[in-house]
Amino acid sequence: MIHLPDSTNKSRFNRRTFIAATAGTALAAPVAARAIGASAEPAAPQDVSSPVNTTLRVNGEDKPLTIDARTTVLDALREHIGLTGSKKGCDHGQCGACTVLIDDRRVVSCLTLALAAQGKDILTIEGLAKDGKLHPMQQAFVDQDAFQCGYCTPGQIMSAIACVKEGHAGTDDDIREYMSGNICRCAAYPNIVAAVKQAAPEILKG
């Protein structure tokens, strides 16, 4: 008889806790980090492979980071800060799974350099629930069964909140057009439209 280990009882180890636990340790070695010059004058030749010190404001909290200049906001969130809600789908701005709000505007975090997001307010799916209560759009996705596998869902929800606040959720056609940057391979689209319609009045009411 084959006896499979019961991962829920015998081990608390899973992929999510692994990423969260290791995030931030990758560059913890005490290397000399560079600072970004605010001047645009040609600077002395830099060793471009050495990490840079920066701070990102995520869900209202300042997060000091030491990162490679190539790090996107998405990788900073997932690999350095431990917020794995924002998902990496295509990593080329085509699928919307990585959507976050920066200064209240929805953007794809996979094409946004972390260094270019300094001084801005980044809001992720983890920053939505307040006092243990889901955001109306999160609740609407649950109520309307607006997902199957759930991988695109954090991006859908962030995008949907912005869609409503932009005033682009007035009709089903508008919702479909202005949510077209979020792909759902499970094709939960009809239920996503229903969720956006459910949450819109509550969000607009403020």
């Binding site: 004058e41 794809v108 940057g181």
Partner: protein
Amino acid sequence: MRPFAYQRAGDPSSAVRVLAGSEDDIPPTVAAIQALAGGTTLIDLMKLDVMRPSTILDINPLAEGWSEIKLDGGDLWLGALARMSDVADNPDIQRNYPVVADSLKLAASAQLRNMATLAGNVLQRTRCTYFRDVSYAACNKRSPHSGCAALEGFNRPHAVLGTSDQCIATYPGDFAQALIALDATVDITGRTGERTIPFAQLHRPPGDSPETETTLTPGDLISGFTISGSFPRSVYVKVRDRQSYEFALASAAVALDLQNGFVREARIALGGVATAPWRAREAEAILGGQRFDDGIAGRAAEAAFAGATPRKDNAFKIELGKRVVMHALHQAATMEI
């Protein structure tokens, strides 16, 4: 992605100095120092290893002076760093320049429109698969004199107008068709100071040097676009494989000046079918001074594609393109303004 140094621009003149570097006779697209605006083209192509800058200059700090939307008398000035979504959602532009608003609204996704700037959109690179995939050795645009894999490859999305035997890559943008149709001008800050050129002189067809896509040189920064007059009777029609969030297979920007059913002036530009923003002047000439009807619209559409060169998989774009022109003309002629 290859390592790079990140710098932030202070002011336009120092940004121009940094971007100019020591190279002045190369296309800006291959310069070692690249300007970062919205990043939706640059970061994407750096991840694909198509673009390989050693330094990125973030020019977003210049947005304060270069992102305004100004309606001054009869003229419209659009700052180069204005975001696509802000211009598309502007009620004055929707009313007086519907072709501008719709060309932006029908492009990309809401997220990308929030990020991408007007100048970045105009300068976006082709979506040719062989250009974007470095595992194909043959791409004259990416590595000069290496050949063109698209000529005999899968060329359904490729251009039928403005092609050469070196390159048939389609210019992918929408907004540029509105700008070229409305005779916009481009404000440029460069090493020799500020200058203004017709938008029609910004891009160049591939010819024998597909790697050179524009008349810009390293250090040139677009600061804005000007459109003289208003064009309430104008439309942008875009046909694509999906209803939303896809590049054009064929599109048309049309502006008409109609009086008592006669065409005083017609402006037509084509997207999705040409190697650069494309003004269809032969089609415009057929309409000028004539009573507008379906017959003349059809003759104009024929003229627009008279010089088309189809390849193995893209001949359908000629018939599709003609129908898009006819549809756009009809829509512009019948719109209530």
